[in-house]
C-alpha cells in the first residue's frame, strides 16, 4: 500500500542556515538530495519526519497532508508513516537485533509474538537471521545499517528517508553495502529520499537528484540530465568525483 508521491515545500531559518526548498519524490523511485555540509539536507529530512518543525511549508504524501503551516495541520511523527534511517543508525542499545526490528510493529499495536514474527521475516529477508539475539554493539557497521533499514521497513512506511546511509561505514565495505542497499531500495514501493554528498551513491542508488546549496535547490532533475549538465562549481566538483 504505497502512499504516493512525496511533495515538500518548506522554509526554515536556524542561525546561519536558511532553508527554502521545494521538491518532489515519486513513489517507487529514489531521489538523492546532495549538497555540501551545512546545506540543510538533514534538516530537510527531519522536517519530513516531523522531528523538526519548519517555519512555514507543506509536506504531503499522496493525498495525505502531514504538515501545512497555513491550515495549521501538523501530524505528529508517530502517525506520519515516514521511515527514517539516521546517519549513525541509532539502533536501541538496550534491545537485541530482533527486538529493535520488532519495536515498530509492537508500537503500532501488534502483540509481542506477532511483532517478533514480523521482525523475524525481515531479518530473514536481510540475511540477518543468525544475528537476531545479538546486541547492536556486537554488529559490524554494514550489519547495523541493514538492521536499521529493516527496522524502518517493517513498519511499512509510505516514504523512506535515509540520511547518509553509507557515511558511517569503512571505505572498504562501502561499495558492497551500497550494492545491497540498492537492491533493497528497488523493492520498496513508496518514495525514497537519500541524503548524500557522494556522487557514487547518486549514480548507484538514485533515479532523480536534487542538489541543495546554502539552503536552496540549485539543480533538480533526473540523474542522467544533471550529470550531463552541472551548472554550479559545487555540482561540477561533486559529479566529477563519480567518474574516477
Amino acid at each position: 500500500m504505497s502512499g504516493g508521491d512525496l511533495d515538500v515545500r518548506l522554509t526554515l531559518g536556524r542561525g546561519d542556515l536558511v532553508l527554502d526548498v521545494a521538491l518532489t519524490a515519486s513513489a517507487g523511485r529514489v531521489l538523492a538530495v546532495a549538497g555540501p555540509n551545512g546545506a540543510g539536507k538533514t534538516t530537510l529530512l527531519e522536517c519530513v519526519a516531523g522531528v523538526t518543525v519548519p517555519d512555514a511549508g507543506r509536506v504531503v504524501i499522496g493525498d495525505r497532508v502531514l504538515e501545512d503551516s497555513v491550515a495549521a495541520i501538523r501530524v505528529p511523527t508517530e502517525a506520519r508513516r515516514v521511515g527514517m534511517v539516521f546517519q549513525d543508525y541509532l539502533l536501541f542499545p538496550h534491545l537485541t537485533v530482533l527486538d529493535n526490528v520488532a519495536f515498530g510493529p509492537r508500537s503500532t499495536g501488534a502483540g509481542r509474538r506477532e511483532a517478533r514474527e514480523r521482525a523475524g521475516e525481515w531479518l530473514d529477508r536481510f540475511c540477518l537471521a543468525g544475528l537476531a539475539e545479538r546486541r547492536p554493539d556486537q554488529l559490524s557497521g554494514g550489519q547495523r545499517q541493514r538492521v536499521a533499514l529493516a527496522r524502518a521497513l517493517v513498519t511499512d512506511p509510505d516514504v523512506l528517508l535515509l540520511d547518509e546511509p553509507l557515511a558511517a561505514l569503512d571505505v572498504e565495505v562501502r561499495d558492497e553495502v551500497r550494492v545491497e542497499l540498492g537492491r533493497h531500495l528497488a523493492d520498496f514501493r513508496g518514495a525514497t529520499v537519500v541524503v548524500t554528498h557522494d556522487a557514487a551513491d547518486i549514480r548507484a542508488l538514485a533515479a532523480d537528484v536534487v542538489i541543495l546549496e546554502r539552503g536552496r535547490v540549485s539543480h533538480s532533475g533526473t540523474v542522467d540530465a544533471i550529470f550531463g549538465a552541472p551548472t554550479t562549481p559545487y555540482a561540477r566538483r561533486l559529479l566529477a568525483r563519480a567518474i574516477d
Binding site: 527531519e46 519526519a49 516531523g50 522531528v51 505528529p76 511523527t77 508517530e78 502517525a79 506520519r80 508513516r81 515516514v82 521511515g83 527514517m84 539516521f86 541509532l90 536501541f92 542499545p93 538496550h94 519495536f103 515498530g104 509492537r106 508500537s107 503500532t108 546486541r135 527496522r151 524502518a152 513498519t155
Partner: protein, 257 residues
C-alpha cells in the same frame, strides 16, 4: 600528595574500623533480638523504601521537567534548579523546622488539615516518610536529570518514526536508556533516607515503633546502653554496604550489554 591523601583515607576508614573493633560481638545476637531494636530496624527499612518509591514516582517527572527547562529563559530555569537543590545544602534540622511550619498543627497547611479533616501529620510515621522524601529526593532528581541530559534524544526521535506514542517511547526507550542513572539515584536516595536524622527527629519526634528510626534509636541508646548503640550502628553500616553492593550489579545490564 601521598601524605594528605593517606590522612584523608584514614579519616574516612579508621572510625569504621573502631566501630568494628569495639563492637560487642558476643552480646550482638542478644542485643539485636531486643524488640525495640527490631522495630526500629523494620521502621527504618519500611519508611526508607516507601520514601524511595515516592521519590521515584514524583522525582523522575521532576527530573524530566528540569531537563526541559534548559529551553526556558535564564531566571525561571535557575530558580527551578535552586529550588530542587536547596534540600541538599540545607541542614536537615532546618528542613524539619520548615516542615513543621508547613504541616504542623498551626502550620500553613497543617492548620487547615487539622481543622477540616482532623488530620495531624507531625510525630507520625507519615511525617517520617515526608521528612525522608524532602531530604533524599533531590539526590534522585539530580542523578536522573544527569542521565537524561547525557542520553541521545535522537533515540526518542527514531522511536517516534517507528510509530511509538509518547508513552511507549518513554517506557520502552527513554527509561531503559537512563536506567543506570535511575538506579544510582534510587540507591543514593534510599541510603540518604535510611540515615535521615535531623529532619526526622525535628518533624516526627522519637516515638518507639512509630517514628523512632534506626539513627534516632542509635543516638538515644548511646546515652543509655553504648553497646546497643554500637550494635545499631553496625546494622546501619551493614545495611548500607549491602544495598550498595547489591544494586551495583543491577546498574550494569543494559549499559554494558
Amino acid at each position: 600528595m601521598w601524605i594528605p591523601a593517606g590522612i584523608a583515607l584514614a579519616l574516612l576508614v579508621l572510625p569504621l574500623v573502631a566501630l568494628a573493633v569495639r563492637a560487642p560481638w558476643a552480646r550482638l545476637p542478644a542485643l539485636l533480638a531486643r524488640s525495640e531494636i527490631a522495630s526500629a530496624l523494620a521502621l527504618s527499612l519500611g519508611t526508607a523504601l516507601l520514601s524511595t518509591l515516592i521519590a521515584l514516582v514524583l522525582g523522575i517527572p521532576l527530573a524530566l521537567v528540569l531537563v526541559r527547562s534548559a529551553a526556558w529563559p535564564a531566571v525561571p530555569r535557575r530558580v527551578l534548579r535552586a529550588l530542587v537543590t536547596v534540600p541538599l545544602v540545607l541542614p536537615p534540622v532546618v528542613g524539619g523546622v520548615a516542615l513543621l511550619l508547613l504541616l504542623g498543627r498551626r502550620g500553613l497547611i497543617g492548620g487547615a488539615l487539622d481543622a477540616w479533616w482532623g488530620l495531624t501529620i507531625p510525630f507520625t510515621t507519615t511525617a517520617v516518610v515526608i521528612a525522608q522524601v524532602f531530604v533524599a529526593m533531590p539526590f534522585l532528581v539530580l542523578a536522573v536529570e544527569g542521565a537524561v541530559r547525557a542520553s541521545d534524544r535522537r533515540f526518542e526521535q527514531v522511536a517516534a518514526t517507528l510509530g511509538g506514542s509518547r508513552a511507549t517511547v518513554f517506557l520502552r526507550v527513554t527509561l531503559p536508556l537512563v536506567a543506570p542513572g535511575v538506579s544510582a539515584g534510587a540507591v543514593l536516595c534510599f541510603t540518604r533516607a535510611l540515615g535521615e536524622f535531623g529532619a526526622t527527629i525535628t518533624f516526627a519526634g522519637s516515638f518507639p515503633g512509630v517514628t523512632q528510626t534506626l539513627p534516632i534509636a542509635t543516638y538515644l541508646e548511646l546515652q543509655r546502653d553504648p553497646d546497643a548503640a554500637i550494635a545499631l550502628s553496625l546494622v546501619l553500616m551493614i545495611v548500607s554496604v549491602v544495598v550498595l553492593v547489591a544494586l551495583r550489579d543491577r546498574w550494569m545490564p543494559g549499559v554494558s550489554a
